[in-house]
């Protein structure tokens, strides 16, 4: 009838420890919760609490013994049926490890920190790479762009507003919140007229507290509402990035698929003009790094309208990286009521046979200008507008490189671990044998953005930089 008391583990990584002291002796009565012994590892000293009740009949491991294996018997208890039928786990019916208890035993606080670091390390070490963010690069290139019929010129600003209006009309669960989005009509006038049409319950001015209101929006999305959170600029999303990554992006996985987060975070990203370092950063690679997020970066008005509509309809958290300088630019945009673009498909903006230029957001415009100049010099560049950063349309890129055998990437963000790096690596993995030259990245300089007009100009990529890069990869 005796129950064996086993050496408990303080953590799943502990395999043995020292039995430093017995606090009960043979013949003592033991109640559930009594401290019966102290055990010690290199990290901590813990007290062992009894789970079962009865009389301690035999101590099997004397105090002071080192290297006692976890789960080996250290004492025997006469259960005595004190609590009636003691529940017994299958396969453990006569041997129950006692609980490590936390109380006042002396130990080193450093040990606790080390333990936590170890726990984190163990989790991190289980990571495994798989191009989750990318469509299979080996697959055939994406279907040609659908013909949406007649177009008319509108600005990117109008396109973004039209997208929100269309989706808010279609779905009462969609609402917009952010700083100055309602009464002020938007810091950059993107939400002009929305308050009038939809009222203050659906177009909500927030205080300047990104962390709090982003968390609130994510919580609302967990109940099935579909918030659009406008960041006045993505620079301010740094205040809220914990909620975007730890709450919005990870909850679906952590809940085993139960709790999704249908939310859009949008606003201008990257450099505007003369606003210096804290207001001029590109966050594409920050957000694209995170499984559980989608990231899009429109260039044209059609991109803006089609991608934002898709983002609002998407059941996942989507980051929409806009660009302030593009807001006022006009582009032809389909007028069709149901116009929408798929997330995850790039667009070949210009076909060419000599080099593939991959760009996103404002850099697509620079790439198009460079392609014009290059055409005059007899070099036919193919320009790919990524549209979607994650998932990345690696298939379209690889298929293009297999035709042109050369790759140049262009973006205004910093060079270190940027989107061009990812694109180049995926091309190397999928089409290495087709490359006739090492890929070249054209990027913003690796410095905080300076204020002075001349220095700011030097910090950003130029059309001339792209032309130069193309000449390098084409050996011209």
């Amino acid at each position: 009838m005796g129950v064996q008391i086993l050496m408990p583990a303080l953590s799943p990584t502990m395999t043995e420890g020292k039995l430093s002291r017995w606090l009960k002796k043979e013949g003592d009565a033991v109640k559930s919760g009594d401290v019966i012994a102290e055990i010690e590892t290199d990290k901590a000293t813990m007290e062992v609490e009894a789970v079962d009740e009865g009389t301690l009949t035999r101590i099997l491991v004397p105090e002071g013994t080192e290297g006692v294996s976890v789960n080996s018997p250290i004492a025997e208890l006469d259960g005595g049926g004190a609590n009636g039928a003691r529940p017994q786990a299958p396969g453990h019916d006569t041997a129950m490890p006692q609980q490590p208890a936390p109380p006042a035993a002396a130990s080193s606080a450093v040990g606790e920190v080390a333990k936590q670091a170890e726990d984190h390390g163990a989790v991190a070490a289980r990571g495994q790479a798989r191009g989750e963010g990318a469509a299979k690069a080996g697959e055939a290139a994406a279907a040609p762009e659908k013909d949406w019929g007649p177009t008319k010129p509108i600005t990117v600003r109008e396109a973004l507003r039209d997208a929100m209006v269309a989706e808010m009309r279609a779905d009462a669960d969609v609402f917009l919140m952010g700083e100055e989005v309602a009464q002020y009509q938007g810091a950059y006038k993107i939400s002009q007229g929305l308050l009038d049409e939809f009222g203050p319950r659906r177009v909500i001015d927030t205080p300047i507290t990104e962390h709090g209101f982003t968390g609130m929006a994510v919580g609302a999305a967990m109940t099935g509402l579909k918030p659009i959170v406008e960041f006045m600029t993505f620079n301010f999303s740094m205040q809220a990035i914990d909620q975007i990554i730890n709450s919005a992006a990870k909850t679906l996985y952590m809940s085993g698929g139960q709790l999704g987060c249908p939310i859009v975070f949008r606003g201008p990203n990257g450099a505007a003009a003369r606003v210096a370092a804290q207001h001029s950063q590109c966050y594409a690679s920050w957000y694209a790094h995170v499984p559980g997020l989608k990231v899009v970066a429109p260039w044209s008005a059609a991109d803006a309208k089609g991608l934002l509509r898709a983002a609002i309809r998407d059941p996942n958290p989507v980051i929409v990286l806009e660009n302030e300088i593009l807001y006022g630019q006009s582009f032809e945009c389909p007028v069709a009521e149901d116009f929408v673009l798929p997330i995850g498909q790039a667009k070949i903006e210009r076909a060419g046979k000599d080099v593939t230029i991959v760009a996103y957001s404002i850099a697509v415009g620079w790439a198009m200008q460079a392609a014009e100049e290059l055409a005059q010099q007899g070099i036919e560049a193919e320009v790919i507008n990524l549209r979607s950063i994650r998932p990345l349309d690696a298939a379209t890129i690889a298929a293009s490189v297999k035709r042109t055998n050369r790759l140049v990437t262009v973006e205004e963000g910093w060079p270190y671990a940027n989107i061009g790096t990812e694109v180049a690596m995926q091309v190397i993995e999928a089409a290495f044998d087709w490359l006739d030259a090492p890929p070249v990245r054209v990027t913003g300089k690796d410095i905080p953005m300076p204020y002075a007009a001349n220095l700011e100009k030097l910090a950003l990529p130029t059309v001339a930089d792209i032309v130069g890069a193309v000449k390098r990869v084409t050996y011209k």
Binding site: P8, A44, T206, G212, N246, Y253, G256
Partner: protein, 342 residues
């Protein structure tokens, strides 16, 4: 404004003392629910010791009266959210012990298919929105749950639990402001168990009365004996009525105590064994409820039946948690994104 609301609260409190906060049946149920949490957590501690539960495991032992008393105030559709010391909250909302324990052991039968663990479980059906591992993050998320009630013009309320350690986080104050500004039906519940990991509240908070932490925003607050399930229920009813009536948020500071360490690997240098022992002997919420039931004419046999019932549930959960298989390797890649178009 806070003072006015506090006074009103005090008046209602006087009236409420005339009748007990819980009927005998309710108290019996509360005793059952608290005991279930206690025994569940003891078993979790045991399974941890056997190496069957990994990582962090934060036990709720000692604090049972808080969630059980508050849950007794709720109606269907109300929401609950908390931090990572969350097993008690899940059991209180009616989530099954089996599914919670199997999540702790990382098995497919767990609430998150073994992919969330101790700190990350959810049940939309039971109104439980996690289970969050970042200190304080659940407070703005909980404000969002209340926001959705406001947006949908529902009469539901949200219970947003956090520890006194989290109460100093910036986003908590941002949430107070947002909730008060928009009159959101959110009950902020500070579970003050005196220690944020190893740092006592006196060493972490300049604020000496946490129930007043939201008073600059006009949010009424009360200190509650969180070791007494009836006191919790009584205060909870006041808070819930305030929120349901559309008066905006409410703050409850539950004075409670955790008997165990912050997590399983806590050497507990920061307090004495005697302090813990004194709380256990003098203020244990389950013993208090047990005595009240016996005083009301309950019998030992009746309570023994509950003890046995609870033991059986916990044992069944522990068995299930050890026999449910580990998640299939294909689960590694699922639930990252929702793939279907809406």
């Amino acid at each position: 404004m806070a003072q006015a609301a506090d006074t009103a609260g005090a008046k209602r409190r006087t009236r409420a003392t005339k009748e007990p906060a819980m009927s005998r049946e309710q108290l019996l149920q509360a005793y059952h629910d608290m005991l279930l949490i206690r025994r569940f957590e003891e078993k979790a501690g045991q399974l941890y010791g056997m190496g069957l539960i990994g990582g962090f495991c934060h036990l709720y032992i000692g604090q049972e009266a808080v969630v059980v008393g508050m849950q007794a105030c709720l109606e269907p559709g109300d929401q609950v959210i908390t931090s990572y010391r969350d097993h008690g909250h899940m059991l209180a909302t009616g989530m099954e012990a089996r599914g919670v324990m199997a999540e702790l052991t990382g098995r497919i039968g767990g609430y998150s298919k073994g992919k969330g663990g101790s700190m990350h479980m959810f049940s939309r059906e039971k109104g439980f929105y996690g289970g969050h591992g970042i200190v304080g993050a659940q407070v703005s998320l909980g404000t969002g749950l209340a926001f959705s009630n406001w947006y949908r013009e529902a009469k539901n309320v949200s219970l947003t639990y956090f520890g006194e350690g989290a109460s100093n986080q910036g986003q908590v104050f941002e949430s107070f402001n947002l909730a008060a500004l928009m009159k959101l039906p959110n009950i902020f519940i500070i579970e003050n168990n005196k220690y944020g990991m190893g740092t006592s509240v006196e060493r972490a908070s300049a604020s000496r009365d946490l129930s007043k932490n939201a008073s600059p925003w006009g949010i009424p607050g009360e200190q509650v004996n969180g070791m007494d399930v009836m006191a919790v229920k009584e205060a909870g009813e006041r808070a819930v009525a305030h929120c349901r009536a559309g008066n905006g948020p409410y703050l409850l500071e539950m004075k409670t105590y955790r008997y165990r360490g912050h997590s399983m690997s806590d050497p507990a240098k920061y307090r004495t064994r005697e302090e813990v022992q004194k709380m256990r002997e003098q203020s244990d919420p389950i013993e208090t409820a047990r005595k009240a039931l016996l005083d009301q004419g309950g019998t030992e046999a009746e309570l023994k039946r509950i003890d046995d019932e609870v033991k059986a549930i916990v044992q069944d959960a522990a068995d299930f948690a050890q026999t449910s298989p580990e998640p299939d390797e294909r689960e590694l890649w699922t639930d990252v994104l929702i793939e279907e178009a809406r």
